[in-house]
């Protein structure tokens, strides 16, 4: 044993979510879905817009859940992929008149490539080192978007305005409502894809890598391939979320995609329950609504109130919303017995 070495047998840094607990039961899922479908009929346009943003951020948190909760790789850089997706859509729509729906798969492919490429150097990094690398990516992105020689395409510091689409086929609904249903469909499709991905062979490969990389590699899992694949998939989904975000908010600008977004998405993942896909929307709700609540409690100390609320959440449920769901399940079980 070399004197300069520390031999470490580590517990995995990201804890595993038991397989049967990975998603909501069929019954609960259908109830939630029904609620999501019916809801816009009863509320004002602004609320519909907020719900759309909820779905969009939920999608971005889901992507992070696949990367960190699934393959065990940390990322504080998701805002970069979100930005690339958003700008891809904006540039395609505004400079090339591409139909908004078509920009989504294109953004997905572009971001997949970007994520896959980033995953390559990231292969040699893990834990805190990977966090630092992704952090660098996130801080670089707004600056890269402001670069002078890209200004013709990106609109520089001002960014680009994005036109919100009307409902197609003359359907009798507002733009906001159409966008909501469109986003819901996209999110649903990706959610189903993600659940199946994590249950598939690739998903098992991800989780093997997360739990014990050396053992996984010894069992023949192509660690390099799956790690970069995880980054690619996660980046693609985040990019699609960014595209939807660009359309919903109707503009893109470099300072909308800072490290604060990346940190928020990370917090959303923790609050929702790392690796628990349904929790993504709970996490998204936290990062959208709690800062507003904090500000309404105290304008001057909004950051401090947010911090306190965050602490409360992590003390009560250190494992995030998943813990609440498990408690709920246990309660339901007890009630059924009685």
């Amino acid at each position: 044993m070399s004197a300069a070495e520390d031999v470490v047998t580590e517990a995995p840094a990201v804890e595993a979510v038991p397989k049967r607990a990975m998603t909501l039961g069929t019954g609960t899922s259908l109830v939630v879905l029904a609620a999501l479908i019916i809801m816009p009929v009863f509320v004002k346009n602004f609320i519909i817009f907020q719900m759309t943003m909820l779905l969009i951020y939920g999608l971005a948190v889901l992507a992070l859940n696949i990367l960190t909760g699934g393959s065990g790789q940390f990322s504080l850089g998701q805002s970069a992929f979100y930005a690339v997706g958003a700008y891809t859509t904006a540039v395609l729509m505004e400079h090339f008149n591409v139909n908004y729906a078509l920009t989504l798969p294109i953004a997905g492919v572009v971001c997949f490539g970007f994520g896959f490429l980033f995953g390559q150097p990231a292969l040699r990094l893990s834990g805190v080192y990977l966090a630092l690398a992704t952090f660098a990516l996130a801080t670089a992105m707004p600056q890269l978007l402001k670069l002078n020689f890209l200004e013709h395409w990106t609109g520089g510091v001002q960014g680009l305005v994005v036109t919100k689409p009307d409902a197609p086929f003359g359907l009798p609904m507002s733009q906001d409502m159409w966008l909501y249903y469109f986003s819901l469909a996209v999110v649903l499709a990706i959610y189903i894809f993600s659940v199946n991905l994590l249950r598939s062979r690739s998903g098992r490969a991800f989780m093997a890598i997360r739990d014990n990389e050396i053992a996984a590699s010894a069992m023949g899992v192509d660690v390099a391939l799956y790690k970069t694949l995880a980054f690619g998939v996660s980046a693609a989904i985040t990019g699609i979320a960014g595209s939807l975000g660009a359309i919903a908010v109707q503009f893109v600008a470099p300072d909308s995609y800072t490290i604060t977004l990346a940190i928020s998405l990370f917090l959303g993942m923790v609050v929702g329950g790392v690796g628990w896909l349904p929790g993504s929307i709970v996490g998204a709700a936290f990062i959208i609504f709690v800062p507003n609540i904090a500000e309404s409690i105290s304008k001057g100390l909004s950051g401090a109130v947010f911090g306190v609320l965050l602490f409360l959440v992590i003390y009560l449920v250190p494992h995030g919303a998943r813990q609440v769901a498990i408690l709920g399940q246990q309660l339901a079980g007890k009630l059924r017995k009685n």
Partner: protein, 237 residues
Amino acid sequence: MTTLLNVKDLRAYYGQVQALHGLSFSLNEGSLTTLLGANGAGKTTTLRAICNMVRSSGAVEFDGKPLNNRSTESIVRFGIAHVPQGRGTFTTMTVEENLQLGAITRKDSAGIVADIERMYAHFPVLKQRHTQQAGTLSGGEQQMLAVARALMLRPRLMLLDEPSFGLAPLVVRDLFGILGKINREDKVSILVVEQNAQLALELADQAYVIETGRIVMSGNAKDIANNEEIRKSYLGY
């Protein structure tokens, strides 16, 4: 003969799995007792439960004082030194630092310095390597270091978890010889967990056999060693 350690109805759990199912035994002051059994029987768990390193219930008393809800480090301060499986050497620190750490809870610096010299007398190879990083020592040397470190506490009771593991037979004989000496001359009571039943029974005066988390046999070490039936059924030789 006073009872030094008294274990009653000890149960221990690793998460949802129960490893000890109501273990009871006791140790007299000055004795050298061995805990035998097959792999997975619960020997290591017993030692860990005594030091409260694993979730457990039941009563453990040391010198009449209950150990149950105390932290590991406070149990150690009662005078129980535990040499864990794998030795737990501070590999990045020097041999001498490892010995100093054994005495970290003591306040008598002159006594500590004297004891370090005594350890070097017991284990000359440690003196040779005293400025070397502990991780560079061989398995046998690290085991000696672990025992020496435990002795630096001036413990009343020493717990050893499979000290023969991974060591050549001659080295094991040496080590066990030293353990016997420590027990007789320094009056340190010893509880040693071992898979190598034959050697352990030669060294010890009392023996207990564990199987799936329960004591199935207890008695004088010589009697157990001479009882062919017991040896064949429980100890495999």
